[in-house]
Symmetry: C2
Subunit: 596 residues, 2 copies
Amino acid sequence: MISFPKPTVEQFFRTYTITNFSVSSDEKRLVFNANLNGKMNLWAMDLPDTNPYLFAHRDESCSFIEFDPKNRYVLAGYDKDGDENYQIYAMPSEGGLPEPLITGEASEKYYFSHLSEDGERVYYGTSEENPSYLNTRVRNLQNGEDTLLNVGEISPTQLAAVSENEEASVYLRAFANTYVVGFVKIGEETFNITPDPQKVHVALEPIFTDNETIYFVTDYDSDDMYLAKFDLNAKEFSKVIALDGESIQSIKWDKENKAFYLVTVKGVTDVLYRYGLDTGKVENCALPVDIIEQTYLAKSGTLYILGRSATVPQNIYQSSNGGGWKQLTNNRVLGLSQEDMVEPDVVSYTTFDGMEIEALLFKAKPENDNGHTIFWPHGGPQAAERKMFRSMFQCFTNRGYAIFAPNFRGSTGYGSAFTKLVEQDWGEGPRLDCVAGIEWLFENGLTDRNKLFLVGGSYGGYMALLLHGRHPEYFKAVVDIFGPSDLFTFVNSVPAHWKPIMERWLGDPERDKERFIQDSPVTYLDSIVKPMLVIQGAKDPRVVKEESDQIVAKLQEKGRDVEYLVLEDEGHGFSKKENEIKVYSLMLEFLEKHQS
Amino acid sequence: MISFPKPTVEQFFRTYTITNFSVSSDEKRLVFNANLNGKMNLWAMDLPDTNPYLFAHRDESCSFIEFDPKNRYVLAGYDKDGDENYQIYAMPSEGGLPEPLITGEASEKYYFSHLSEDGERVYYGTSEENPSYLNTRVRNLQNGEDTLLNVGEISPTQLAAVSENEEASVYLRAFANTYVVGFVKIGEETFNITPDPQKVHVALEPIFTDNETIYFVTDYDSDDMYLAKFDLNAKEFSKVIALDGESIQSIKWDKENKAFYLVTVKGVTDVLYRYGLDTGKVENCALPVDIIEQTYLAKSGTLYILGRSATVPQNIYQSSNGGGWKQLTNNRVLGLSQEDMVEPDVVSYTTFDGMEIEALLFKAKPENDNGHTIFWPHGGPQAAERKMFRSMFQCFTNRGYAIFAPNFRGSTGYGSAFTKLVEQDWGEGPRLDCVAGIEWLFENGLTDRNKLFLVGGSYGGYMALLLHGRHPEYFKAVVDIFGPSDLFTFVNSVPAHWKPIMERWLGDPERDKERFIQDSPVTYLDSIVKPMLVIQGAKDPRVVKEESDQIVAKLQEKGRDVEYLVLEDEGHGFSKKENEIKVYSLMLEFLEKHQS
């Protein structure tokens, strides 16, 4: 009767982002960070009512939310326009405007670590006086005293757990994403929580189950992450439980029932288990989503999760006493149902050296199909493209594009050894995995040789630039979103506390000069000839604007077809709704322009 | 432990405005118009779940929401930046982006009147071809046919009700706010629904209870509005029920139970009654708020209301089968509880000619009190200041100001005769009522003679200018928000379909030249000497920008202290959150600057 046009870009981007949440100790209030009103702000719901109301207004990203156990205040971390210099603010327990609590110069960082059981001592890490390795301090809120607890050394070192009696603390020292060692500090004494800190492994998510016992996850002597324990009395490490072929990513301790909730990564989805410490029983818990981004376990045993699936945006869910999941938020795509979205196929192909590479393939529905494919190398690189809703993916498939996203070597979710393959090899192995993926698309008739686009962000932007430079014949046009263009400048422009980990991750510009040249997109300026769109946030602290500026300038000098969009008030991502819509509308326009 | 500062302007203005709502016929979806995400958009909740999600995005004010009874689409009216040229849009039943349905030139209006029971014929009024008196048309959505039903004449004429068989229609012809006659049209025949259309009265809210019977409210031969009936067979008018000392404002028909819900006005609050047509019984229904702004009665008998109280912002409530009220939305002041707000005292005083004038007095809490009072003449003028939450009032009392808002002659809620007293007397009686109110404040020691401010908007802005010009000695400083400054220019600049009613309401510039001069603020330029802040929306169609431009220019020529803020994207009000905060922050700053 009345006919309506196809959904627009805008509809897909009118979802909101929920980055994190927390729940008050009495579970009467849940606070979450979301750009529900266009910019990132804290919203609350007074449970069991789920109707959200504005809880704190600051129009900035929030890194954490922590309730005073006695409900006198709420703490939250805010940065400025995406610069990731998070500092600690407080607001009244009924909400309001966040007031600076532990803050300093705009360039300094103050990371929340822990709040004492009585809510009176805030443990935090800071770049102040130690920008590369970070110091740890505690602020007494009663008398304002601020005490230095630990001076970070060797590599960035952060407090990760404090025992209930506040006598023992676990620190994590990061040498790389794949090399993080843990040690307990009691007074001035320290003990490693794994047998040999010289072995490359990670120790993460430490939890004190009592003042003498630390549980944590590690891949020490294993390709997968498992649950381990460190006994402070015996100074003894032991393996507790491993889940075959899955890596445990995060754990929550149910003290009352002596059980752990374990979230594991299984390729492109997550799995949730409940593990009874006394019974030794492992139960698989049904999940309402494919990917879990945060869990919160209340003292009552009620579990809260933030998660999403390929066709469902981020929402918060609640499960009381092992019962079904109740959806607490109502984040959805404007005017579209889940059936209108595309669920990806999980495919795999054999790459140049015989390894299997898993990938997600989003096929446009036949009625929308425009015959073109977008090749999407994910960011990270030590991350993965998984079954997680992306407005961009659903919008672009709705407009008729297929999207192919391979989890090339270096991706997480396929064992520690696989993840390490990108270290000191950013441009060769992963790139050849991408090339093999492209050829696989052609060979299987999924994509025409002359109908392929290339789009990537962050490391994916770097890979887009590099693939463009070394294999321009594959692509009709390329979009680079804040990708490093020159490894020599990139390695020196990252935040101070990243620098200690750059050597293992990327390499040394002196020692690895030849490789840096070979793996830097700027080396291939002569063959970066296809139309390109470059997008950059001016405040990006990870891949600084100069990385995009320089390649755009050099290409424009050569008269190449390069469009450049700089977002003045964004960092490494788009937190503001109107910016997001602007970016992706332009991207879509760019792709459509270059289809023919 | 952590101390927090006093609430700021921003906190009070982080509430949202809900202007209207509707419910689908199956009551599974409620859609409401609110600036929850900063600008006005439609939000939905899938009942009984109350978690809202974005339903339609347009960033513009919405005049009505109407569900297709068969749930194939939803209709809504949108204007542009507050210009009040509403046109009719449609969106899919699952929401989306509104598409033009019945629209035309940007300067034309298309007012929704009625949707047929089968959802296939839209009855609407339009300024097209008849800007002063309006035409009525029907659009057949099946075949696109658009038929002229009525040519407005004599005065603006709008379709207000259509019988179920669509053979009879009720039109209302407005000569003034206090003079609106109704007539039924059956084919080309018309019948007045009150005995004598020459008598000044109003007939409003017509409802067909069956194809032969029209119920409506009227003050025909009465000072109060009562429920009346017109029998189409007998062509007979009869009074049905009156409520002593209260005026019935709106009615809803419960067909199943043969009962009416009646909302009455009782001074500064509203009352809700249920009236059984067969039993004759009138029941008083408890209300969750003091003021009802919209009611919706579902076929199931469930009643929905949109309302507010002095200390509670607008929210939507639901009452099933006479049960208690359930609050469906969660609109509240950021970080403040109801106890932090000020409930006004209802006071009254005797004015110059012996009449009693009722007023609201918001006293600052002792711990906030700054000793200053704001005198607030309300807009309309045929409206009233009632117990309805205003961010401005609560914010300003929190900052220490008392606010005094008199319902001077011309206000509604005190009988029709009282309301008519402002007609053709904008500047004398009402002004003297204000003066009497000011003197009453002084006499009762509520305000110091040298601590009074004057703030008003629309007619209240006019009154602020006029009081300033004629009684400058009373005020420290004055704020005028889109107030007419010159009755000669104002009378000619209102929208075309207002012009026919201006004569009775304001007067004739030729005939009443002397009075127009005497009642125009510009006449008193010489004594408008106190500091002034003027605020105006550039798109205001009711009080056009020239009204503010001219007085600001003339005062600045004379070297007076005048600040002028023009909002480019607003009309007669502030629909955009950031504009609202800007306006009231500036206003507060202005007042604080002129306290000493």
